[in-house]
Symmetry: D2
Subunit: 360 residues, 4 copies
């Protein structure tokens, strides 16, 4: 569905970049669970612009308002509607873009589809839409905990352009957030910072890849055939703005291996049979194995540039645009919590699906 | 949903490798359309085993039977149910595997999920399930034609292990099918064949990537936010057995480019504004642009090997298994029509979604 | 789905009686349509309490706020989120009910399901939830108009207890709204008023039936088998608070007729074959015939009484409650626009479904 | 969805009256459950024609074939596909109807929708489609048992035309099946038989109502707002061929009562608070209370008559048709197991929904 994700834990996001509000409507949460709004707000802080010199200077406090579904901090079992009322909208920054198609944005294709061009800031296609996703992921984290499942979901920036981090062990979220580029390898982090800073000065932009590990996931999640766990993850990740690739386990690397190299053998762990290694990336036949989910997502360089760009307007006339609006030269540091949020959403959906099979 | 794909053109597949039948139930097709069953059968010929020395010798004729939805070759508007009655099942080939977990197959994870192990041939996780997908893709092709949309969907094997084809222009399906490895570059095709043949002799297996181009798609398909065209494609492709990666447009390559290099500018074509180049791979903001959809899918080497393998059985005892069952040393040549079929399914679903917006 | 209706035109409602806001999230609306918010507000006026001495004195202005999906009054194609911020909540009126189960309300069953009891005013089960439905119906009306379909949807109160109106011709909405009880038969209207007024004075409540006619609907809407037009209408109507019965066409009356009496013959109208009479109520085999949809909905007497009532509290102790909260002695007059709204929602959903079958 | 019911326990039916097969595809069943096919076959015997002189003489054995999802009688967790291959089709009986619109059948409206007229026997709109529903209900019964829930679902014919049975206590299914008209009141049963027999001789048909009681249902099932338990039941029942009304609890009778008469008070049962009486029919606020679900469904007289009827053909010419095809003068006796089957399907769907909320 266009604006909805999930069959059991169902998230609808709403809102445009420069409208009244953005938010999420979340259905499928059990009743009588405590939801800590401060923890959701903390997630939003990690996503919001203005965190560092490398991100968009748009100054939004992104204050969470709960419109429905809670009574004294506990879920009623009814839909949770959360809104962030837009504040620092400055549509005047975008006035000069009203009739202009920005290259490699969704302005033009949106108009082709819906017969109307969002006048400013990308409307619904703005990265601001991801606020609703982060809220939903933050709720999913707490719902999973209520079910007794404390996942560790950690993503980090693994490559920027042709620079690559060297991360051996699973980092903590704290280690990731230590650097403004969200890379737990300090040497790579500095190199990433320098590169992004240089690219920004040149009025250009840059992409890279995010690696994500989900530990603590039980075996048996994921639906065979179409709703394989990796298929739902791939959909969730490719639905993020600017994402261009998804890999599970060894990913593209698997295509270079022989079957005898790639296969994971079985071993005994506390008397139980289970896969010995995790080249499979936590899923076999679309079903989780208990090994960490390991996947990576590639993001293209942001389409908005910090320099004058030639393009066409709605009348087909050549125009020059300058990036008056606020934007990031590199989307990846802020995409880290969004990737994590999407992982929580997908896992909770699959977890609830599996609950329907629990014979007492 | 577990065994169903699509919101508007809805495909459910059913059946296990060694059961009574496999097939597809298809809903959402308009009435009074002519459906040519012979064309569907031709698709099945391209998918079926036993096509060459490089594929599984399982000899299935895979004869299509239409159980419902047709009257004198025309659709009634009711669900189309197609079945292939299994014939060359030989479960005795798999009898020695009844209690054994084959490495990197779905035997073990299926049992973890459902509490029962398919006794032979992978059950529902067998590649035989993809018969239903191919049937549905073949129907989708004809339905799109009835709507006046003659897509050209062509996929081919682009890499095998570290060998890469050199394909400059979009090949025809005929050019692809000329070689048993389904690669339109004759030099690469020969190299692929030799490699696969050698790997087979060594009792091993090998993976690679498939490139797919969808031409003739109108601008405006794909749903913003969660059901982006590339997101639905990613899900469809990652739901295929053995697939490990998905890339749209420049894919991972985009992560190495600057924004100024990757952006596609606008141009005028017969007076209308449209993107000049197609680094975006046919989608912007999740919506098709009219440029060909360009994506690639990576497949791991097949888990079944042609040599003795050490593993564990359900009691946790070490056992040795030989690949008595029939299998392919490389899944890619037969995966080509399956990738194409999935592309048809996704595009038709998005096409029908867009029809709900046509204001007269 | 719990809080969502429709497959093509999808309405989610949210909010509790005494929470921050109630509203609707609506997806599936084409882009570039003009939406007149004043017309939606007019619908809300017809639904809101405080309209007459016979309805709840709760004084809510129910002012519509559009949170998303609109740009200068035109749809963007993205989800429309509408909220009504609650104002006249007076939860103190319900403080004495915090631990009490009100007879024949949802307090007790909600707690059984979700493990938590809404403390006041019924929470999500309050009739206040229907605000979102009315908003969605009012939007559906305008969307149908944009598609060139000007339906006439008129409902009225046909019976109150054992009093019955005598309505020969389809009334206009104006004729219905002339009386505070929303009955176009002036004699019956006066009788209804007197009865409801007497019942109110006695601290009691009363039910009845609403008749609805949908004219202008084209033939061919409604999905055969499970999503028959009458089946979706039945679901929509039985999902309304206090509704207990649904009849299509002759309804229960049909069970007293012979087939030869009930059957509708065919005739020629401007050269085209069509049913002559409309005992079928506008649907045959689940599909609309072009004749007006004719259905009726029965509502039980409101559970909240205006006098002291014996009940039990959460500890199982007998308590006496007085209806301190504001309520209607008869739900039917205010249910009229809600029934109409639901009819619009169902018809638009079926209309969009049918658009996917339009071969050019 | 057109041919699919349920969000958690999902049933798709397929097949036309005179096609190759009819059947059901069922998804959402846990793995490793034993399914007794003989019990399903027994359900089919209760539905099939040719049971008595009062039902259609069409002689179908309706032998169940399991195409997928089972291994040695146990579920694999994959979709269960069941087919009945049509045998006694006799399309020649319908040859004279090929271009004729039968009054009050779906021939004409189907053609309006899909642009094609099923040539014989009603195609998909035939009561033969309900075979798939009965299969699914019979599976649902066994799945509920596996979850430890042994419901008692008993329906019976309560009225035929203006004759009414007198049933004080909940009958057993055996008591119901004792009479060919499926009425547990022997006096009424004889009167029903005589009436139907007379009507049949007169070449006419007759309708009536079926009452259904579902005992053993736990409190807490049913989703608030749109997917109320009674709303889903209403949809399921109004999706049955020939059904025209649905009532829950006191139904229409509730509209004649005062609130003080209709309200159910609370009492203590083994120390727990619960409703004392069951005027509510087993649901409050859309959620089950633990009291038996009590509902009734009205069916119109069958449209097919046993005498010559005037109608029009596709060219608009008047023609006379005789009911050469086989049909029932009264649909109700055979509808009893279908109503029961639909109740099982709806309850299982709601039961699985509720399982997603079980916090350990």
């Amino acid at each position: 569905m266009a604006n909805q994700l999930g069959s059991f834990y169902r998230t609808s996001t709403f809102g445009e970049s420069h409208g009244y509000a953005v938010g999420a409507l979340i259905d499928g949460v059990p009743g009588n669970l405590e939801i800590d709004l401060k923890r959701i707000q903390t997630w939003l802080e990690r996503r919001r612009p203005g965190q560092s010199a490398l991100t968009s200077p748009r100054q939004e406090k992104d204050l969470l308002v709960a419109l429905s579904g809670l009574q004294n901090g506990r879920t009623l079992g009814s839909p949770l509607c959360f809104a962030i009322f837009n504040q620092d909208q400055k549509p005047e920054d975008y006035a000069h873009l009203e009739k202009v198609y920005r290259p490699s944005h969704a302005d033009w294709s949106w108009e082709k589809k819906f017969g109307i061009k969002p006048q400013s800031g990308g409307g619904r296609s703005s990265a601001r839409e991801t606020i609703g996703r982060v809220i939903s992921g933050a709720v999913a984290e707490q719902v999973l905990e209520a079910f007794g499942l404390s996942l560790s979901v950690v993503a980090w920036v693994d490559t920027i352009k042709d620079l690559r981090a060297n991360v051996k062990n699973t980092p903590t979220r704290g280690e990731v957030d230590q650097s403004v580029v969200r890379c737990p390898d300090p040497i790579a982090a500095r190199a990433f910072e320098t590169l992004i800073s240089d690219v920004k000065k040149a009025g250009d932009s840059v992409g890279g890849t995010i690696q994500c590990l989900v530990s603590g996931i039980p075996a048996g999640l994921g639906e065979p055939v179409f709703a394989k766990l990796e298929a739902e993850l791939a959909k969730a990740m490719l639905s993020l703005p600017a994402s261009k690739s998804f890999e599970i386990g060894e990913g593209l690397g698997a295509t270079f291996m022989l079957g005898s190299e790639h296969n994971d053998g079985f071993t005994l762990k506390e008397g139980a049979v289970c896969p010995e290694s995790n080249r499979h990336g936590g899923v076999q036949g679309g079903i989780s194995t208990g090994h960490p989910l390991a996947f990576r997502v590639g993001f293209k360089p942001v389409a908005t540039l910090g320099k004058e760009v030639d393009t066409l307007n709605q009348e087909g006339q050549p125009v020059k645009i300058e990036a008056g609006g606020r934007h990031d030269p590199c989307v990846l540091p802020r995409a880290v919590p969004i990737v994590e949020a999407m992982a929580y959403i997908v896992v909770l959906d699959m977890f609830l699906a599996q609950k329907t099979r629990e014979i007492p």
